[in-house]
Subunit: 368 residues, 2 copies
């Protein structure tokens, strides 16, 4: 039961192979071209509001002593991915590594791959060269994050079809998978907005209070930095014109979780528009909240040296330094040397978190 | 909607308070008695097959300069937990910390709690003194791990009731919650055994192949070391007379995941029989497998110094050194300086993992 996307990706892989064969037939060296993913080719594109790769290309030739090994490895990975797609079976990049180690290890004098660190960047090369995500190559990535709320998903996987109703997932919620595209579709979305909550403990608190039911929202926790699958899910929900609101700790780390969802991040800049959600807004916690809610002052914590260093770094990011509110927030951290966790909002009463969110969301007290 | 257990725990907390009041009324100092959790009071009980606490007690008196602070803190925590139980609301130990910081911080000259590290061990004191788990005190713990297979759960939580059918959770499975006791019951279990798979990537592979359907088993991944909730779930499934088989990497770290499920671990020895599953058996991967399956040799990895050190440590554990097979396995690691990941079983073909497990389980090739 292969889907359309699989057929399209198989064709891309075959085209890559055919191009190389025709190069050989024409007595020229086979080449592999991809876009550079190094820092010098990552740019913040203000017109779209996210990080993406520039135009610099990298060409790898088979007949080049310095490139031959990498070239062979790339072709071997492409062949394996085609096999996985044809068999309609998924594995991890670790599983891919062992497949390569197994089938190529025997007949060669030299191991084609001695470490997984050799195969990982080549998977990224292939993603960029073919303009697909590794999830489209049947490679699973680490999954993390949970969702609950008025969202019904049809999940075709492993030869079966399940309907996942995210209002009926009890205390646990539905775990966000690695691949939220292939074989997965939204059957119903009847929500007013999406709330992304940094910490799982806070998600559980809001889930117990049925915040998603009372406020008719979709409640997501990435459990810290969002995984690829979680960022992609948020992007897809934003595509359905749902507002995305993020709720994190009031410190540079929490805020960066928001920014990574909004503009993407350096190491995933090559996925650009697939995972960035520039429309996302920030609901809290902010240093400004400490002024607005008197009792919060006593619940602040002293910022550590690393917290301040991280805040300084963020001030230098060009996609942040144009937002006056954010510059003020970061400068307040540096001045007061304080931070405030989202958990602190449970200080006066466990249900206060919900009251806080309701007030800020209804009054549209957001940062960009 | 409080359950019976909540009422019982509230009574235990009230009894603790009443005891102290009667001590005050009798003009003696209020005391709090708990069982010592330090290393000297942790023993491996061969007759039951798990780690548990011994009989050494610790008594804390209010009228003792060195103990007054801790005493007050313990009482404050007990009072908060009673409040959470009465309100039928859960929070994390971080949420508890902020509640304490908020309500006690104002009127005292001194902060009652300055760091969360002060409140954590006191929660454990209370668990042991009252013979309850922190989950019974409405304190959530980190949740981790996923389950799929022929298991139907009734989940009463947050004022609602959901039926979770673990055969219908698609590519994701059901996330194992922090508390698998209160408000949660098994409606149906129609499985022949439980398979616990160390890594999530491997769990996804087996889930895609519908291993749990073909083999009629419950498929669990703890995602590395098992959380409290995951260990407790495994214990509860073993109570239903289901055999428990564990499948981990072939190295000291993987094997210790198995041993922690089987005999418990030092830091959770105070939970003893609640989370240990001495009936558990080990299906693989073993150093012996490398002899039995020729191709595995080429997929082994060099063990690092830390791997060997850990193997040596395990050889010294009294609950391991009586098992000849395990001593042989650990000695083989030290001799060959090799290890083998469970992912390596995907080398020849992605579906090989399932073939391997079927053969070993059907032939009952287990280690104790």
């Amino acid at each position: 039961m292969k889907n359309e996307k699989s057929a399209e990706v198989i064709k891309k892989l075959e085209d890559l192979g055919r191009k190389m064969i025709s190069e050989i037939n024409a007595q020229s060296t086979p080449t592999f071209t991809t876009t550079l993913r190094s820092k010098g080719n990552i740019l913040y594109d203000e017109s779209v509001g996210y990080l993406r790769l520039g135009d610099k290309k990298e060409e790898r030739k088979f007949i080049n002593v310095g490139q031959a090994r990498k070239f062979m490895q790339t072709v071997a990975i492409a062949a394996k991915c085609k096999k996985f797609l044809t068999e309609n079976a998924h594995t991890s990049i670790r599983g891919l590594y062992y497949q390569l180690k197994f089938s190529l290890g025997e007949d060669l004098d030299e191991e084609l791959f001695s470490e997984q660190s050799e195969s990982n960047p080549l998977v990224e090369d292939l993603e960029v060269a073919l303009n697909v995500k590794r999830e489209d190559l049947n490679l699973n990535t680490d999954r993390k994050g949970v969702v609950a709320g008025p969202l019904v998903i049809k999940d075709k996987f492993g030869g079966e079809e399940d309907i996942i109703d995210c209002t009926k997932q009890g205390r646990s919620g539905w775990m966000i998978p690695s691949d939220v595209d292939n074989g997965m579709e939204f059957l119903e979305i009847d929500a007013d907005y999406v709330l992304v909550v940094e910490k799982d403990a806070m998600w559980q608190r809001l889930n117990e209070d049925k915040f998603w039911k009372k406020e008719n929202c979709i409640l997501i926790t990435p459990k810290g930095q969002a995984s690829r699958g979680c960022r992609r899910l948020i992007r897809k929900l934003a595509n359905k014109r749902l507002p995305i609101y993020c709720f994190t700790d009031c410190d540079a780390w929490g805020w960066y979780i928001y920014w990574a969802i909004k503009t993407g991040s350096m190491n995933l800049a090559y996925l650009g528009s697939d995972i960035a959600t520039p429309e996302a807004k920030f609901v809290g916690v902010t240093m400004k909240d400490i002024e607005d809610y008197d009792f919060l002052e006593q619940l602040t914590i002293k910022a550590k040296e690393v917290d301040l260093k991280r805040a300084e770094e963020m001030l230098s990011y060009e996609w942040i330094k144009n937002y006056k509110d954010w510059v003020d927030e970061l400068k307040t951290v540096l001045k007061t040397k304080k931070k405030l966790e989202q958990d602190a909002l449970q200080g006066p009463r466990l249900s206060f978190v919900g009251e806080y969110l309701r007030e800020k969301i209804s009054k549209k007290k957001f940062l960009a």
